[in-house]
Symmetry: T
Subunit: 144 residues, 12 copies
Amino acid sequence: MKIMVLHGPNLNLLGKREPSVYGSVTLEEINQKLAELAGELGVEICCKQSNSEGELVDLLHRAAEEADAVVFNPGAFTHYSYALRDAVSAIGIPTIEVHLSNIYSREDFRKHSVIAPVASGHICGMGVTGYLLALRAAAALAGT
Amino acid sequence: MKIMVLHGPNLNLLGKREPSVYGSVTLEEINQKLAELAGELGVEICCKQSNSEGELVDLLHRAAEEADAVVFNPGAFTHYSYALRDAVSAIGIPTIEVHLSNIYSREDFRKHSVIAPVASGHICGMGVTGYLLALRAAAALAGT
Amino acid sequence: MKIMVLHGPNLNLLGKREPSVYGSVTLEEINQKLAELAGELGVEICCKQSNSEGELVDLLHRAAEEADAVVFNPGAFTHYSYALRDAVSAIGIPTIEVHLSNIYSREDFRKHSVIAPVASGHICGMGVTGYLLALRAAAALAGT
Amino acid sequence: MKIMVLHGPNLNLLGKREPSVYGSVTLEEINQKLAELAGELGVEICCKQSNSEGELVDLLHRAAEEADAVVFNPGAFTHYSYALRDAVSAIGIPTIEVHLSNIYSREDFRKHSVIAPVASGHICGMGVTGYLLALRAAAALAGT
Amino acid sequence: MKIMVLHGPNLNLLGKREPSVYGSVTLEEINQKLAELAGELGVEICCKQSNSEGELVDLLHRAAEEADAVVFNPGAFTHYSYALRDAVSAIGIPTIEVHLSNIYSREDFRKHSVIAPVASGHICGMGVTGYLLALRAAAALAGT
Amino acid sequence: MKIMVLHGPNLNLLGKREPSVYGSVTLEEINQKLAELAGELGVEICCKQSNSEGELVDLLHRAAEEADAVVFNPGAFTHYSYALRDAVSAIGIPTIEVHLSNIYSREDFRKHSVIAPVASGHICGMGVTGYLLALRAAAALAGT
Amino acid sequence: MKIMVLHGPNLNLLGKREPSVYGSVTLEEINQKLAELAGELGVEICCKQSNSEGELVDLLHRAAEEADAVVFNPGAFTHYSYALRDAVSAIGIPTIEVHLSNIYSREDFRKHSVIAPVASGHICGMGVTGYLLALRAAAALAGT
Amino acid sequence: MKIMVLHGPNLNLLGKREPSVYGSVTLEEINQKLAELAGELGVEICCKQSNSEGELVDLLHRAAEEADAVVFNPGAFTHYSYALRDAVSAIGIPTIEVHLSNIYSREDFRKHSVIAPVASGHICGMGVTGYLLALRAAAALAGT
Amino acid sequence: MKIMVLHGPNLNLLGKREPSVYGSVTLEEINQKLAELAGELGVEICCKQSNSEGELVDLLHRAAEEADAVVFNPGAFTHYSYALRDAVSAIGIPTIEVHLSNIYSREDFRKHSVIAPVASGHICGMGVTGYLLALRAAAALAGT
Amino acid sequence: MKIMVLHGPNLNLLGKREPSVYGSVTLEEINQKLAELAGELGVEICCKQSNSEGELVDLLHRAAEEADAVVFNPGAFTHYSYALRDAVSAIGIPTIEVHLSNIYSREDFRKHSVIAPVASGHICGMGVTGYLLALRAAAALAGT
Amino acid sequence: MKIMVLHGPNLNLLGKREPSVYGSVTLEEINQKLAELAGELGVEICCKQSNSEGELVDLLHRAAEEADAVVFNPGAFTHYSYALRDAVSAIGIPTIEVHLSNIYSREDFRKHSVIAPVASGHICGMGVTGYLLALRAAAALAGT
Amino acid sequence: MKIMVLHGPNLNLLGKREPSVYGSVTLEEINQKLAELAGELGVEICCKQSNSEGELVDLLHRAAEEADAVVFNPGAFTHYSYALRDAVSAIGIPTIEVHLSNIYSREDFRKHSVIAPVASGHICGMGVTGYLLALRAAAALAGT
């Protein structure tokens, strides 16, 4: 079983910028922890980060061909990228939407996700723990 | 470590009514699975269900005294009970909000949670799997 | 055939408070007239009033077990109790929503019912006559 | 006692189009059942259908002269015809607004009636049964 | 194959009033061009114009009996006539909504069509060319 | 100089219904006073009343051919008839919108006129006096 | 009979600035024409202009003591000065609101008057003619 | 003279939770200070706290029978409990709404009280001082 | 301790205009009662009334220099004067906002105060009693 | 004459994903049919698809240099890409906006196009037929 | 070249109140720096501050007579003074709107300027630097 | 000191398209003038233009590493790119948002910038002058 992990815009700066909001863990460290859990769960993961909406759409299309589920943190695209929403809906494999921070306790524009209605699951507010739970969820749903 | 699991209004009908929406698993079966995972995680859980907002507020106050974290499915109260929101905010122990269905892909009124902004984590759309993930989250956050 | 008649919050004050709005007929007198019509229609009725949302949810769950239809005046809960809405939707027996006053000609907040979308029928504005029509409707729909 | 029954736009297609929404009973059959009940209630009814807002306003003015109450299904005009609203308000005889379908569980635009605030009663969601209840209501209110 | 072409309110003034908005072509000239294209396409057309919403509803009902598709420019009724919307939805034959001007680049009220959601096709902004395209569309869809 | 006076829906009931809102003067008496003032101003007037939106559109088109200005009380059509708005805009002769009551101090829906943006003048709140002022305005503007 | 004419902010620039919007007539010329008509009507007028909301409130209070009616062009204060609205409502003498331009065909913020609901009459869109009509209206209403 | 003091949901946690928001004074200490002032004012008070909306409705109905006025801090119910609003309106004795914090300077949902429109007085933002002022207000209004 | 009492626009008409809304007590009589209570409380007060927003801003600035707290009835400025809001926020001494009437049970525009979020306290609906409570509040808060 | 055909995000999945929404025709087959029609019309077409908003902006700029008109299905970018809107407006050659599905009968977010106000024509709801009509429109408008 | 610098309400308190928001520089110091830059740019400036909307309108009218451009910080009037907006639009000389703080990152009501649409330029968020840039802008635009 | 100048989508067409809106100066000419001013100010600038949101996010991340401040005209991305907003907020160096046109006097969608709340400064409406002022601002703020 192969799970693609997609990180959206600005997440490459994790741990380097605004630690008060996004914590001090770097994206590499998150991918590292995901790899460890993947090992435990006996699944293969492939992690990608991009600041480009178009590239993330392409990656989702590739996931439909090469993977069984997706863990997807769309970053700021969460709030307006209907292109990514349509991609998640079109590829038809379980896609778990995850956010490090509690998007419902921050600015108004973050309290609405255009991805959530078509995602198989929605996890937010628990930092790295949330990513690990999302991987478990992806593995569980991909199995069914 | 003790975790209280609170089920909100109408969840006592799980498995008996509207299976197309809420699945065919009964509340007892969910509590059963939670108990099994709790055993694995080495934590103690106590499960309660109530159709009364006031009773759920009282139970949250009791959790503040007797438990280390809460897994809370507020059911329909999610969308308007500021009393439960204030209780979650006041008791100050990690509270994970969980929903069986994807509240963001159903009627408009379900797409807004007044609990989410003060919850430590927010998980929805993954049926029973979501409850199990929420228990893991509660255990993880209660530990920190 | 058994029909449960549920009266929501403050309706116990009928005939004693604000007669200009709710008329001078007491709740007991309404129940009395309903009983008379029930006799004519050959159906059995059971009337309950409660100021507690939780209690009304429990009563609706009991109706699903013990009755064939419900006549329900949710009072002020009409405008915000999604818990009662989910209960009406979940129990799956004909439920006729009735209001003494014309909720569409009073304050703005009364012009929106969260119960109406899942009720089998919606009758308002005709005082006691409305209750009697609702009982006829419940008997008719319970029969089909 | 004479009661005018007014059917609004497109109701002439009842039973011939979109049975999944409006049922398979034709308008003639509804008028037929109304006539039977009228006989039981000892009242005289006169049934009219029109696709023209202006014609329905004229008919309401005629009702003020010739009838004691009106049963009125304004069809789609329900949602925007302030001309019909002013006519109902101006003629000052009991007017019962009735709808076959539950207008509150369909498209958003149907969930608002401009007629309801000035109608003597509002009945919806119960198909033909609703028409019969409306006739009883009109007879009852015309009597007072 | 017979296609009914319906022109809504004020279109009888085409070419005589406000040429800056609606162009200098008269309604007769448009009907003339439609007849020519109909000849090419081997279909029969019948063109009607009315300033009355009720009359247009009646004409749509007649189209359901006498024609295979409709080309319909609802004019200002586009923005509020739910009666015409229900007629288009009820008659169940392909109905192509067409507008001479780009309704999305004019006043706010024109940017919302209540007909579009139930029309088989929606063409606007291309003057007479749009009418000709709508006739082709009606012929194509009526064929399937 | 010829001025057409158009009265919209329900104004035929003036003086007979709801005197508390529309005063006790009948439409005939208003037309009578207008005729007197017309004599003083040396203009010819022609008064029409209709409950039909389509008929009023036709009458406005006739005014464009036969009159120099229009005094127009659109009644309830004021608030939603974009067909009448387009007619007023299309006919291009001065059209004075007049209302007996102060539409801005009544229900919310009356506080917005779709006719006002294209009318040459807007007079409301002064009963019959308003009609007489509107006739003076029409005569003045038709002259320029 | 004495009528106070109040001109609001920026109207002192009439005829000197933005003639395309406000015409080329100066405020003095308007006052001159008003004086002439006042002579014809046998009433006394007193004209004041101020850019200060507070001063206009004071002037309205003075009018309550010294005049029988007010003609009031509140200028931009029309759209937000509830202080002037309360003054008009409090002084209880007929106050005719007048605007040179058609406030309903300009920017959105001008399409809402907070003065209109408490004014005795509302006239706009007819330039100087509107002022003269307002004076006639004030004289007529002050007389009743 | 007897005044009932009602404390809404979560106020039992006063002084124990979120002191930064609600201060460090406990509910008992507030009741203590109220009792002292009551003594000074020569009135009798009875203090109750409940997390249940239904129970508070019942208590308000009891106040109508046993007390002359009510001091009521509805807590989070302030923002959505129309049931409590109807109770306050129905019991018809002076009810002073009081809040410890300035509800207008906190989250958006707290800036709207459904109780205020039917309360005899509204006091907020002054902590315990506000409660004492509310008691004085209740005593003053109950006397009239 | 010196407390400034500021009365906003139109309050100079108290007791002379609209007694049904504002009561029959004049502003002088209110100031008189305030002076009496001030004596009891051992504080000095200075009362000012102005219809000018700018003057009230200047007076608030003076209060910052000469007084320890302010009792402020902003009248209609309550609903839109951000200049007064910024002044209250800037001067940093306790400012108690007070209204004679219950602003939450009147027109919609009165249900929103731009001053409340920055006031130290908010009292409304209790006529003169409210003013006296506000003076007590100002004295209490100025002391801390 | 050369016409560029631009397909927006996810349209590369046409025929492979969600056939119930987008039909079973692949993008290649659509391009194939367009090429055939182009031959009939004697115009040259060049078809491109991209999931990248930036790339589509670049392609529109290239069209301004190399083509006479554009047929553009912006996919999900339709609803929020003001960058593509400005590009269409800036390049100044006829651009026909086309959608396979009826965007007005699907989710709310699809009912608003930011491209439509600056497009030369707007065609939707007719599947492949719509694309062919759009090509005819482009050829017609490019010619003028 | 003469440039008028206008400071709106409460700016006289700069440096004395709320330094965390407006900085510690006083208005005099800002005027001092502006004078220095004016010298460098070879322009004459005249600086005025007022808490009165009416006075600022008068000053803008004077600027039209005596100056070539205006630098204007409308303070809180920015958000609701349409009178000042009309003055800026009427006087027709370049007016640069400037704010010390970033009005877009503070309370919602500050995120909308009624002055910006008619200002020649809009500068905010850069404290004193912004004032200096505004003076440069005024000098540049006055020159063209 | 090194300042990055970023031009958003469609700005490469400056001077070639829609001169009535964006002026006749080309992007190259703007960069040329910026270089001249940079020379005067003794700072180094690097100018980039891109139609791709993702590319601009990458460029902002590079600026955080290589530059001391950014001058950024986000073009149409201003109104919806939360990805660019998060990038500006994350990189933590002074970023001045600049627009050639007055975005507040054009279409509604341009009147809201998602970048402004996190920009260090906001300048618009002054064409090329605005760019030069923005460069001065960036140099000034980078220095502090």
